[in-house]
């Protein structure tokens, strides 16, 4: 993979003149991108989708993973299979499924109409940021749940009993014991969700229509219709760089959290 990525760097330094690639090394592409508010806004939008979907999946996954680790003994295999099952279908098929469920003439609108909850189909359901977020949460939720669940499997029930005996209230127990132990899983889950969602192309494209347009659409345009591969490569690196910066900031903040410091300190 280092080979292809290096070639991409080289490409991003070239230029297109009269529909052919000129192999002159310069930073013109990057200078152009930094000066254009559209590309910066599209990158910010991709990061925003990444952040929203990550936060939603995280909020859902922590209680689910905790429950799986603590309370379901013999049926665990079954539950894990049920969580993994959607992964057997291509994400493409799942986007199609959501499109037909959320579409203006789709199932959800049909059901709501029949139940007289609404009098006219909700246009908002299809091709909207809401549709993008629902379907991306659906596609990436299993990764977050599994990452946190694996971390929480290591949780010794005796710890919670001891805390309980010493009079700790559930919220305090959660903050002092469960969350610190889940932290490695949470970090892994956040990376597994945030990076691919931010770089998601077909999901935002198929579910969001024009409102879903992010930097990935711009990259795709440069490669498939504008045939400006150097600019497309520079855009790709702008995306990678911004993902890298956000991830680095996230990791720095997490490593400064008191609970993580305490936990790591105890281990050492």
């Amino acid at each position: 993979m280092l080979g292809p990525l290096t070639i991409m760097v080289v490409y991003s330094l070239w230029r297109v003149e009269n529909f052919s690639v000129v192999q002159n090394v310069s930073f013109d592409n990057y200078a152009y991108l930094i000066g254009s508010p559209i590309y910066i806004w599209l990158t910010a939008k991709a990061l925003l989708y990444g952040a929203i979907v990550t936060i939603v999946t995280l909020i859902i996954s922590v209680p689910v993973a905790y429950f799986m680790a603590r309370h379901i003994g013999p049926r665990k295999g079954l539950v894990v299979t049920a969580i993994l099952l959607p992964l057997y279908t291509s994400e493409l098929i799942r986007y199609f499924a959501w499109r037909t469920i959320l579409g203006t003439e789709g199932m959800l609108n049909g059901a709501l109409l029949r139940l007289s909850v609404i009098s006219e189909p909700i246009e908002m359901l299809s091709f909207s940021p809401v549709a993008v977020i629902i379907s991306l949460v659906h596609v990436y939720l299993p990764f977050m749940i599994l990452a946190i669940w694996v971390a929480l499997e290591a949780l010794d029930p005796a710890l919670l009993d001891a805390a309980m005996d010493l009079g700790a209230r559930p919220i305090r127990m959660f903050g002092k014991i469960v969350l610190p132990l889940a932290m490695p899983g949470i970090i892994a889950g956040v990376l597994f969700v945030f990076i691919p969602v931010t770089g998601e192309f077909f999901g935002v494209n198929m579910m969001g229509g024009t409102t879903g347009f992010t930097i990935t659409n711009a990259i795709n345009d440069q490669f498939t219709s504008a045939f400006n591969w150097p600019l497309g490569s520079a855009l790709s690196y702008m995306l990678l760089l911004s993902i890298g910066v956000v991830v680095a900031v996230f990791l720095v903040i997490v490593s400064r959290l008191r609970m993580v410091r305490n936990y790591v300190g105890r281990e050492v």
Binding site: M1, L2, G3, P4, L5, I7, M8, Y11, P63, V64, Y66, F67, M68, H71, V79, I83, L85, P86, L87, Y88, T89, S90, E91, L92, I93, R94, F96, A97, W98, R99, T100, I101, E105, G106, M107, G110, L141, P142, I145, P157, A158, L160, D161, M164, P170, I195, P196, T198, G199, F201, F202, I219, F223, W229, G232, S233, S236, L239, L240, I243
Partner: protein, 266 residues
Amino acid sequence: MMRDRPALRGSPFLASILVAVLIFLNAPVVVLMIFAFNNSPIAYTWTGFTLKWFQELASDRMLVTWGHSFIVSICVVVVSTIVGTMAAYGLVRYSFRAKPLVLALVFIPIIIPRMIVGLAVLLMLNYLGVPRSLFTVGLGQTFYVLPFVTIVVASVIVTFDRRLEEAALDLGARPWTVFRRVTLPLIKNGVYAGALVAFILSFAEFTISYFLSGTKQTLPTLIYSEFRFLITPKINALSTTIVIITVIFTIGAELIRQRRALGAQQ
């Protein structure tokens, strides 16, 4: 039993969240499968049971595409399982100066959006003058699948007792014999699991395949080009078939593994 009691208090609430999540995760695919048998050509009004959408699937073009998908996935499984097992073994067992480099090589595709993996490979192929084909699809998919296989196999290698290998070496076995007779049987389950993960990921992969496929398509790229603008129940039938075949494949692999394991015990 006693131990479970304290935390049980919050559990009806947590249990209902779990159930809701399981429904949310599986409902879209189930809905899709039910409506594959719907008589109406309009997507979501039920008018009666039919198998006609499945019959329409039995076209030559569709069967050829199934063949393409299987060929690509089987090649990806073979290559990524062998390379992934070697990488996992090397990374867990040995320390060497180039280790960070190998780690980076194996794991970079996992921390990069798939679209960029596909485009970077496309640029390289273009640079080398290699035309797009099923081979390039397989190549791109292997980059993407390899880290997952490596993680699965490595997670098994770290659990087994290293002294077993050392004992065999001390008794005069050659390294290759040790690997074949001691290590491999012990990590066999991990290798199987890795191969299965590779198959599932590869068979469903779309983004990388989209950028790297030439005139010959795999199933997901065919779905995209056929149904992008016009959604018909045919896509439900096709998706249903894909899910069923993937599940059969998975169960089959699991059964073979269990029978082998039983045979080995006897």
